[in-house]
Symmetry: C2
Subunit: 192 residues, 2 copies
């Protein structure tokens, strides 16, 4: 099994005008992604932001839930939020995974827009089941990852398509669906 | 194809002490569920709350995004949020579906706790593909639907199990995973 890490990228991402920005951290993104990371037993989920005030906010939140009153009130939330790791950049996330796993990870980008060279869920799942090289899946906030991040990734995971072409999912819901498709027990034999 | 409706229930649900409460509406729940409902082309998603102030809040939010400035700024969000329907009770939701479809719906409850008489995803999917009787899937907020709602449902959908027993997902992420399992195109033949 190849370990899969998530990275929730707040910089560099696009805003709705297509400009490069650092987006604000959303409290519920951290909770939801941590809970998903825990449910699918990921070794870690990186929260990527170079902004000091946003880093401080994430630090406070993690401290509250992992060490403070929150931990006593809701221990299973602490269990989840401990999987989050605050980093300055995608490079720092990749560096941590390399150090932890002993080999540089395969980097997968995700995008709501399809394109050439798209990695299917079956291929991604096959890598996770049969390879050992770790993977980092980049999730964009705002209007998505900047083109340079998508182009420098080893592959772009195919967009989640609904049943009618509308695929404007929140990053929280998209992450949940992607993890379920990649890592859930094969319930598909019964489904099809 | 049987039409599937969601109902996000804020009353009656449990709090963490097991008491029956009316939970507060969470802004991002409405956005995320509407976007999922749109992506999987559901005819509607009911927001169930008997509290007048919460109804007013939902009304303001829908007005902003479906009619006001929000619609101009982000038309695809209006397209999604138009699927939401504010109702007082689960009974009112069931009544609307009955009137709309010409037959009373099958009611499915969802729960993070397993139990007897659990409906598998394959059976639920088979119903949706092969039957005509509409379905309403109840999603609990807070600490979940009250036992009486679960007992009065026709079936309880099996819990989402992660890979390690932790299944404390947010209702947003749980709804996304459930809809993807029930309604996504069969990608499973390639996956297994």
């Amino acid at each position: 099994m190849a370990p899969l890490y998530l990275a929730l990228v707040h910089y560099p991402v696009l805003n709705r005008k297509g400009e490069v920005i650092a987006s604000a951290v959303t409290n519920l993104d951290l909770h939801d992604l941590a809970r998903c990371a825990c449910g699918y037993d990921l070794p870690g989920c990186f929260i990527v932001t170079p902004l000091k005030d946003q880093q401080a906010l994430v630090g406070r939140l993690l401290n509250h839930w992992c060490e403070g009153v929150g931990r006593e009130m809701l221990p299973e939330r602490a269990e989840a939020l401990r999987r989050l790791r605050l980093v300055e950049s995608v490079d720092e996330a990749v560096g941590q995974v390399t150090a932890e796993c002993g080999s540089a990870p395969v980097v997968w980008a995700s995008s709501a827009r399809g394109g050439l060279g798209v990695l299917s869920y079956s291929s991604a799942r096959s890598h996770l089941m049969n390879e050992e090289r770790p993977c980092v899946l980049l999730l964009g906030t705002g209007w998505g990852l900047v083109p340079s991040l998508i182009e420098s990734a080893h592959a772009v995971l195919e967009p989640i398509r609904g049943v009618n072409g509308y695929n404007h999912f929140s990053v929280r819901c998209a992450a949940a669906i992607i993890l379920d498709r990649l890592l859930s027990m094969p319930i598909c034999g019964e489904i099809v």
